[in-house]
């Protein structure tokens, strides 16, 4: 038996049973792998009960003062340096249109 191989399911595949049957059948016939469905483990849910723990885990160790100052300088220096063509009018709306709501 081969080792399980994690497979990422996009939304359509995760929700549509017809597509699931077609795709999972193809996956298994090609690779004989085991599909692992990612779910929020109970241990992960428990971690959210401690806000401080989550805050540290998500943000990581805070940068040192010198590094923080350097990052801040780069951020401030970047402001106003991008031309109009990079972010044309309606840019964010066009991106969000790819996430049907």
């Amino acid at each position: 038996m081969p080792d399980p191989v994690p497979v990422v399911l996009l939304a359509r595949l995760a929700l549509d049973r017809t597509e699931q049957r077609k795709a999972l059948g193809a996956i298994c016939s090609w690779t004989r792998c085991v599909v692992v469905c990612a779910t929020a483990a109970s241990s992960e849910r428990e971690r959210w009960s401690s806000t401080r723990t989550v805050r540290h885990e998500l943000l990581g160790a805070p940068p040192g003062q010198a590094e923080r100052a350097q990052r801040r300088r780069r951020l401030l220096a970047a402001m106003g340096t991008v031309d109009e063509g990079t972010y044309p009018p309606g840019y964010l709306e066009q991106l969000d249109a790819g996430w049907p709501g």
């Binding site: 990612a38 779910t39 929020a40 483990a41 992960e44 849910r45 971690r47 959210w48 806000t51 989550v54 805050r55 998500l58 943000l59 990581g60 805070p62 003062q65 923080r68 990052r71 801040r72 780069r74 951020l75 401030l76 220096a77 970047a78 402001m79 106003g80 340096t81 991008v82 031309d83 109009e84 063509g85 990079t86 972010y87 044309p88 840019y91 964010l92 991106l95 969000d96 996430w99 709501g101």
Partner: protein, 137 residues
């Protein structure tokens, strides 16, 4: 003091683009960030900021990278995605990246959320529309 500040893409893009109508307000707000404050992005917000510069390449991409280096980026975990789905289900006006950003704000106990989207002001009391003056809770 603002503390942890979650930035939505509208603020970052306005700060980067001198042609954006909100550029003065975004620039002034970010310039007012204090030593102990930290701008934070959801990973999905980072995507929104980077798509345009990736298309443009060159100096635009370098500028966006420099800007992003000044922000902490929060990965989207399964629990964060679950929380974002709850928010999105309750607020139809929220985009998916918007819901993720608000879920990040909850997860890290952010002090404020900066956006230029006025629809957010009724969703979370921490939402702030930069105006160029002093910001924070």
């Amino acid at each position: 003091m603002a503390g942890l500040i979650v930035l939505k893409a509208s603020v970052a893009i306005a700060a980067l683009s001198v042609h954006d109508v909100h550029h003065p307000a975004a620039s002034a707000a970010l310039a007012s960030i204090q030593e102990g404050d930290e701008p934070v992005l959801a990973a999905t917000t980072r995507i929104e900021i980077l798509v345009g510069p990736q298309r443009a390449g060159g100096s635009a991409l370098q500028s966006a990278s420099d800007f992003l280096s000044g922000c902490a980026t929060i990965p989207v975990t399964a629990a964060l995605a679950d929380a974002a789905a709850v928010l999105k289900a309750g607020h139809a006006a929220l985009s998916v990246p918007g819901a993720v950003a608000l879920a990040v704000a909850d997860a890290i106990s952010a002090d404020s959320v900066w956006t230029f989207d006025h629809r957010w002001t009724g969703v979370d009391p921490r939402v702030t529309i930069p105006t160029g003056g002093s910001l924070g809770n």
